[in-house]
Symmetry: C2
Subunit: 349 residues, 2 copies
C-alpha cells in the first residue's frame, strides 16, 4: 500500500504508543510511513512540574516542526493532520505521578492535553497495583476517585502496566471504556506485561481498546519474532475479543540511550538496578524485529494482516479506524455544554 | 434597562476585572446584573504551582455552579454564556509570577485558560517596571521575549499596574494590541495607578483597550465619587482616545477579608507593612460608591452614560461590545491552523 496515496482513499493510521528520542528524523519517518496520529509518553516518573517541562519541550518541537507535526487534542485533530499532511501527537502518562496526590490535577492535565494516563507503571501507585508487584490489591480508595474524575474530564484510563485484578476492577469501576494501549496476549507470549484471556475478554466486552505492542520483550521469539506469527496472534485475539476492539500501540522507543531505559525502570523508587523486562546481560533496548524497525514499516504490518486473511475493512479498523472511534468518544468531557472547546469538537470531526 | 431582557436585544455586558471572594451569592448577582463575562484575577504573587491550585479551586466552582458560570476560554464562550443564561469567567494574572523565570510557561498557562497577564504588579518584575517604583527602566530583556511569546500564543499584555515608560514600550514592542484592563485617567484623579494622557493616546492609537476602574482609590472623590463625574470622565476619555477603545474593568473586590488585601500588597516581597493605595488609618478595602456596590449595578452605569449623552450604540460598545471584539482578536494563537481548538473558534463566534 502506498503511504503517499490521498488520505481519502485509506483510513487513518494511528499508533497508540511511542516514546522516541524525538527528532526531525523520526517526524519525517512518521510522514514517510503515512502515520496520521501517535500517542506519545510525556511522563514515566515525572511529578507535575517536571511533566510540564516535558510539555514545554514538546511545544518547542511543535513550533519548530510545524510542517510535520501538530499537538493533537481532540479526535478531529487527526482529520486536520491528514488534511495538512502532518502527524497529530497525543500526550499520555505511563504513571499517575504527574497528578501527585492531588485529584484536582486530573482536570488540569487534561487541559494541558493529556489524553491517556496509566494508573500504574509496574509498581504499586497511589491508585492501583502494577504488574511487577507480588500482591495486587486492586483499585485504592484514591484510585476509585481518580477513575471517576478521569471519566468526567475525558482522560482515558490505561492499564498497560497494571496487574490483573487492578485491571479488572478498573474496567468494572470506570463508567467509560478503558484502554490497554500497548501489550500483547499472554497466550502468545507469557510475559508479566502481557494480558490474560480474562482481561482481554473483559476489556472487549466493556467497549475498551487493546493496542498490540511491537516491543521485542512482548513478542513471541522477541527480536526474532516473525511477521506471520504476529499477524496470526492478531487474528486469534480478534476471534477472542472482536476485531473492533483492537489497534496498534507499537511501544517503539526509537534512538533512546540507555539512560532513558534506566529512568523508565528505576525512576526514583530504588537505589538498586532494576532491569525490568531486560537483564544484566541485556540491559538496553532490544533490537526491533526486522519487519518493524520504525514508522516507515506500518506498511509491512498491513501486508502481513492481508496475508493472514484480514479483509480491507478489518485492516483499516486495526490500523487506526478503531482508535479514531475510541478517541472520538474518549477525550471529550462529560459536560460538553461547558465550553466552546468541547462543543466545537463535534463540528471538527 | 431590564437586565432580564433577551440577550439578542442588548449587547454583551463584560467586566474586564474582578477579584471577589467567590461565592454563589456573587455568581447570582452576576446573573441578576446580566453580566455575560468577567475577567477574574487568579494570581497576584503566586508561582506556577500555586496558580494551578487556584485553577483547581475554580474548577470546583465551575462544577458546583454549572448553572451560573462557565470557564471562558474563547470569545465564543460569551455567546455560549448568553445562550445558556450563565456568566463566562476568563482568567488573568496581575503579575507574571506564575511563569516564574520560564518563557515556556507562557504557552502552558494559555493552555490552562489564562488570557491576560500583567507584566508587573506595582513593583519591578523580571519583565518590566511597576507603577510604584522610583525608576522605570522599561521592558527588560526577558520582558521583550515574553511579550513576543504572549503575542504568539494569544495571552494579552495587561499594563494596569505598570509605570509609563514600561507601558509605552510594551505598546511599541507588542505586535498585537495590549490592554489596560482596570485604571482611570490621571487627568481626572492623579493616582499612581491612573494613566497619563500620553499612555491613553498611545494605547488607543495602537488598537488597545482601556477598562475603567470603579475601585474607590482610582475615583475622583474616592468612595464619594458621583456617577455623573464618572460618566463625564468617560466622555472626556472617549474624546481623547475614541470610544471604540473603552470598556469597564471594575476592579470589584467583593467580600474580601483584610488578609487578602495584605496578600495583594505585600505578597512575599517585604517583611514590612505596605499599605499600597490605602494608609495605616484606612488599610482595608474602601467602601464602593453607592451607585456601584456589586454586579447588579451595571444598569446604573448604563443609565449614567445615557444621561451624559452617549447614544445606544456607544453605550453597548462601552458596556461590553468593545471587549468582545478585543477578545475575538486577542485570544487565538497566531498559528490557528495548528489545532481544532483554535480553528473552531471561528465557527463558535
Amino acid at each position: 500500500m502506498n503511504p503517499a496515496r490521498p488520505f481519502a482513499v485509506r483510513g487513518p493510521r494511528v499508533d497508540c504508543m511511542q516514546y522516541g528520542n524525538w527528532s526531525e528524523k523520526i517526524f519525517r519517518q512518521m510522514r514517510d510511513g503515512g502515520v496520521d496520529a501517535v500517542h506519545v509518553t510525556i511522563a514515566y516518573h515525572e511529578n507535575f512540574r517536571e511533566m510540564v517541562a516535558n510539555i514545554e519541550a514538546w511545544n518547542l518541537l511543535f513550533e519548530r516542526f510545524s510542517d510535520l507535526i501538530l499537538h493533537g487534542k481532540w479526535s478531529g485533530d487527526i482529520a486536520l493532520a491528514r488534511q495538512t499532511g502532518r502527524t497529530a501527537i497525543f500526550f499520555g502518562f505511563q504513571n499517575p505521578s504527574p497528578i501527585e496526590d492531588d485529584i484536582g490535577l486530573v482536570e488540569v492535565v487534561h487541559a494541558l492535553g493529556a489524553r491517556f494516563m496509566q494508573l500504574t507503571y509496574n509498581n504499586q501507585s497511589l491508585l492501583a497495583t502494577g504488574c511487577y508487584e507480588q500482591h495486587d490489591t486492586g483499585l485504592t480508595r484514591m484510585g476509585k476517585q481518580v477513575v471517576r474524575e478521569m471519566n468526567r474530564v475525558g482522560l482515558v484510563v490505561d492499564m498497560s502496566h497494571s496487574s490483573d485484578r487492578s485491571t479488572l476492577e478498573a474496567i468494572e469501576h470506570s463508567q467509560r471504556p478503558i484502554a490497554i494501549t500497548h501489550a500483547n496476549p499472554a497466550f502468545w507470549h507469557p510475559a508479566l506485561r502481557n494480558k490474560s484471556d480474562q482481561v482481554l475478554k473483559a476489556l472487549g466486552q466493556s467497549g475498551g481498546m487493546f493496542g498490540f505492542s511491537l516491543y521485542p520483550h512482548h513478542l513471541h521469539g522477541k527480536s526474532a519474532c516473525t511477521l506471520q506469527s504476529f499477524c496470526e496472534m492478531v487474528a486469534r485475539t480478534a476471534d477472542l475479543v472482536g476485531v473492533e476492539h483492537l489497534g496498534l500501540g507499537s511501544d517503539l522507543c526509537q534512538d533512546q540511550p540507555y539512560s532513558v531505559v534506566e529512568w523508565m525502570r528505576v525512576g526514583r523508587w530504588t537505589k538498586e538496578v532494576d532491569y525490568g523486562e531486560g537483564s544484566a546481560a541485556n540491559p538496553g533496548f532490544p533490537d526491533q524485529p526486522e519487519w518493524f524497525r520504525d514508522n516507515r514499516d506500518f506498511v509491512n504490518i498491513e501486508a502481513g494482516l492481508a496475508a493472514t486473511g484480514f479483509g480491507p475493512a478489518d485492516i483499516a479498523a486495526l490500523m487506526g479506524g478503531n482508535w479514531l472511534r475510541f478517541f472520538e468518544a474518549g477525550f471529550v468531557p462529560e459536560d460538553a455544554r461547558n465550553s466552546t472547546t468541547a462543543r466545537t469538537v463535534d463540528i471538527a470531526i
